[in-house]
Symmetry: C2
Subunit: 339 residues, 2 copies
DNA sequence: GTGAAAGCGCTAACAA
DNA sequence: TTGTTAGCGCTTTCAC
């Protein structure tokens, strides 16, 4: 186990002061008017011995850790997993590492996690915030930490966020079902006061109401566990035999919904037409293919990281927070077409 | 933006030396025979003002970062995403944070990433290693870093790894197809020299050979991009019209395979029987449901983190590396049953 | 039982 | 143009 070289070792070996080395390594040679010759000699030696500055020490000194904290609801959910992947790529390209964690939409867990991230001196936060976390986020912002929210935002908290047009998405999807001639359209979602969920419900309700149809909203308690979602779904189907179309509010519920429909032998679209939020392989490959509200995952990730990097590079600027709202794409497939 | 308290602030406020504070905070009060009274006073004050030691400084001093580096092939792949989720939970429970990254199975990218992790002083490494990374891993180990591999291992590199019985898995799946009466069974996989892939091919070949059947292996160049996988798959189906059963070597290929079959109007199991490695919603919900080789994801994650924590807690022990091989579960569904 | 002080490796103000 | 030096906040040896 060879000992790691420090800047002092380099300085001694080259008979130069460590300051000079530091300047050269940090690209400030020009500014400090250090001779090209020296710069070259140093760079060559550094490359040769493979010296890498200790980033911990650097962080301690500069207060920067080049780390971004990413908090999602559940990293194993395909929506968040794909966002995470894209954010990771872009972050690494810009010299940032990602520490991630799953909040499970649990407020107190998230508070702990924020504490850990803070403790780790992450430079910035990207999160899909759970309910009730407003104060913690505000305190983060007050302390000058860049925070970018996505998938939802916190009304009242002034910070940047990237989200999609949830209201229009479900409105549009519901309208599509209505146009197809379905009359008894249900919306199944997680019980939640989060903005994205509230908007999704509202979009659905606006649409059914505008056509004088009955609104049937089934709210399920948030849970990662499939069985806990499927139980109330089974009940729902039994209690509402007259439903002829259903809109699922998230990919997780959509997948569980399809499973329950399978169990019960209900076929789309003949028994019940189906649309789900989010577009994944499960929906594309299903028989029949399931109509889905596709989120622009790449654009979301791009915007998130772009906004965060902007804030990171320009800490002082207290420019007005940006709210970016992206469009979704209703991918119409057989599951929602009236025969 | 309130200034963060340091141990010195606490010491001054309490008129005690920072050493004493440090001892108390690190649970060495007893050992150092510090008066209970003082301990209490310090603890009370610390709790009151919400003082948290600067972990960066602590890491710099102790060399421990309480961070684990997790390197998977692609965090957005459901297999790795679910493993990541489980590892995350267990790591956090034990006071460790996770920094993750996706290797894309790219050797030089992985080398960079290892460099970053090393630079960040992660305490331990969990990885699904790409090919050609042997030396880097060995150098990690030589430097005393705990490394646990999973999903595959590197022959010749002496370190702990957790994997599944790949050979038996595909052997068993192939046997199942043979028992069902299929005669022209193909195996479609990524071209790779990685242990898990080699074993999967071998399991398949052993099975077909043992029954005197022809072996048809289609190797596809590794790629995350679906289209790049689907193109050779389309060719394969066209060039091999007589295939009556197919075994997909990974979930990604399996999913793409189903898509191509959809395009071409080929139905399982009547046109071609299908089995895929890994068991996910796509396969469960498919019509017909797809027979799958389910990996024990939880057991893998559990074992990985257990072994790593053991090594972390007992650095000195150069106990013989553990190789844990777990069983898979062939979940037989309609896609592989002869009508 | 407690405290002084060295030092982990680095940056940057200030000197020279 | 380069070097000296003072910390960043913490742990730990050694002395009292």
């Amino acid at each position: 186990m060879k000992k790691k070289l420090s800047i002092v070792d380099i300085a001694n070996e080259l008979n130069v002061s460590k300051t000079t080395i530091s300047f050269i390594l940090n690209g400030r040679a020009q500014e400090k008017r250090i001779s090209n010759e020296l710069v070259e000699r140093v760079m060559k030696y550094v490359a040769e011995v493979g010296y890498k500055p200790n980033s911990l020490a650097k962080s301690l000194r500069t207060g920067k850790s080049n780390t971004i904290g990413l908090m999602v609801e559940d990293i194993s959910n395909p929506f968040f997993a794909s966002i995470a992947r894209l954010i990771e790529d872009r972050a690494y390209k810009n010299g940032y590492k990602i520490i991630y964690c799953s909040t499970d939409n649990d407020t107190s867990k998230t508070q702990d996690l924020i504490g850990m991230f803070r403790d780790r001196h992450v430079d910035g936060y990207i999160m899909a915030p759970p309910e009730g976390i407003e104060e913690d986020i505000e305190s983060l912002i007050k302390d000058g930490m860049p925070v970018v929210l996505f998938d939802r935002h916190l009304p009242g908290v002034k910070t940047d966020f990237i989200e999609i047009d949830n209201l229009f998405s479900t409105y549009n999807a519901t309208k599509h079902l209505i146009e197809q001639g379905f009359k008894n359209i249900a919306f199944v979602t997680f019980a939640s006061h989060q903005t994205q969920m509230v908007d999704r419900v509202k979009g659905y309700e606006d649409a059914v109401k505008s056509d004088g149809l009955k609104s049937t909203v089934k709210e399920i308690v948030f849970n990662q566990d499939e069985e806990q979602i499927m139980v109330p779904l089974r009940d729902f189907f039994k209690e509402n035999p007259n439903i002829d179309a259903i809109l699922f509010g998230t990919n997780h519920i959509g997948t569980c919904g399809l499973k329950v429909m399978n169990e019960l032998g209900k076929k789309a679209p003949t028994d019940i037409a189906v649309i789900s939020f989010d577009d994944y392989d499960v929906f594309k490959l299903h028989s029949p293919p399931v109509t889905a509200i596709a989120q622009p995952v790449e654009a979301i990730a791009d915007n998130v990281i772009t906004v965060l990097l902007e804030k990171l590079n320009d800490r002082s600027s207290s420019a007005k927070p940006q709210s970016i709202v992206l469009k979704t794409d209703l991918r119409i497939r057989n599951s929602s077409l009236k025969k």
